[in-house]
Assembly symmetry: C2
Amino acid sequence: MTEAKQTSGGGSLLIAWQLSNKRVLIVGGGEVASQRIESILVTGATILLVSPAEGIGSRTKELVSKYKESGKIVHIRRKFSETEDLENMDMVLTALDDNELSEKIVHMCRERRIPVNAADIPHLCDFYFGAQIRDGPLQIMISTNGNGPRMAALIRTRLQKGLTGLEGRAIEKVGLLRERLKERAPGVGGIEGRQRMKWMKELCDIWEMEDLAMLEEPTMEFLLNEGWSKDRKVLSPMETMPILRTKKQTVIRHVVTEGGQSTITAFILGAVCAGLFFTYRGR
Amino acid sequence: MTEAKQTSGGGSLLIAWQLSNKRVLIVGGGEVASQRIESILVTGATILLVSPAEGIGSRTKELVSKYKESGKIVHIRRKFSETEDLENMDMVLTALDDNELSEKIVHMCRERRIPVNAADIPHLCDFYFGAQIRDGPLQIMISTNGNGPRMAALIRTRLQKGLTGLEGRAIEKVGLLRERLKERAPGVGGIEGRQRMKWMKELCDIWEMEDLAMLEEPTMEFLLNEGWSKDRKVLSPMETMPILRTKKQTVIRHVVTEGGQSTITAFILGAVCAGLFFTYRGR
């Protein structure tokens, strides 16, 4: 993980960089390189991996053999070559033990205005990586601005406990519903655009994450026909009940209420203690 | 908030972009521009804001008058001028109603290889913004990959509930301790570097976030003198107790245990219910 020393006032601009159909050069093949490869693969970019065979770690090897046929990763078994490797690159990541070579690559990227990250040399980086959580379309990044990658990992664990695991699915469903709505109200901007945004916002406010996660095609149709198309109304989950599949709801409710178990246990424990007290006093 | 339609498999590369001492051009002065200004201000970049006076919203106006003296924001009261505004820029953000002008600016940025975001025109963006949490050096970004900014906001609220509010302080303290440790063991890489990383990792594992947040200078010295310098040992919070300030700990413990109140309430409620039951039965 790349680290940096910064003043406490200094922050980063956290952004979601788009790499679909772009080309990323990764120089080096060890443990860090494999982490970089995994981060890049989810973006839809093509990876050019430059590293001598002896520099390839086990995880990198696995990833290369898994993705080489699809053309997602092209592995060139040699050291970095300045004349050809930077050509048409949209991003460059170095994962090298050789700091001198890393520095050289960074300066060449600067000249060509290619965004570059040099692992473990923060002052040479245009951007840093951070701890991440991914659940389908949901991506969360935790940055400590160079004050320790371990802390970022601890906070990731803490944040993960606050998620039910249904958020990714809920986001997917909301995305689908928004697509359906746009088919009915295709206007960009204007009154219809604003009504559409308001309707979506209200729906997300009224519906719980867990209800959104179980939104199926028929319910979406019902919401649009009986809600949106009639007076732009937002129906509650209860109002769509006739078509909800009760079985599914039960399963999800079970997941959701797990967090309440300690409260229930405490209630029972309290009752038992008082019961024992009264039983004892009654003797 | 910039949105984008993407396939469910498509993700972004979430990164912490570095803008300290860089120059960012913001074109437009409305509500979105003010959000952009706030995001950029934390990074230590200088902002060139180009917008006619009539396009400036109230929040933007506030920010301009607050930061113009320090030179952090320079406001040029006119429309975008292609001949001069892009010169020496490290990043460009458009926040315009005029999509045609936005598109023109984006293409000019592409030619110059300047990273660019055009608000509300996702297919033209090199990167997107997302919902954010900030607590000192801690920055968290939530991206739904274009499946609805409202969902990102809901997840932000959910994540915020999982944080105690002490994380930022804990990260600062760990950063400081790491600096102190580096003064004693300045080697990059090698055995000492690895020992240092191991020691910091262990400390973060053994110490609770809340203990880390209350780490003061004398405790750090104690940890380094009695722990690191003697056999690279990691002392527990208990082992540093002689010099801990008990009062502070009490305050923090109070904050931390707030989450347990519902459990305590449930216990009492359980006891009261059972009490009533026995009282009633006893009649």
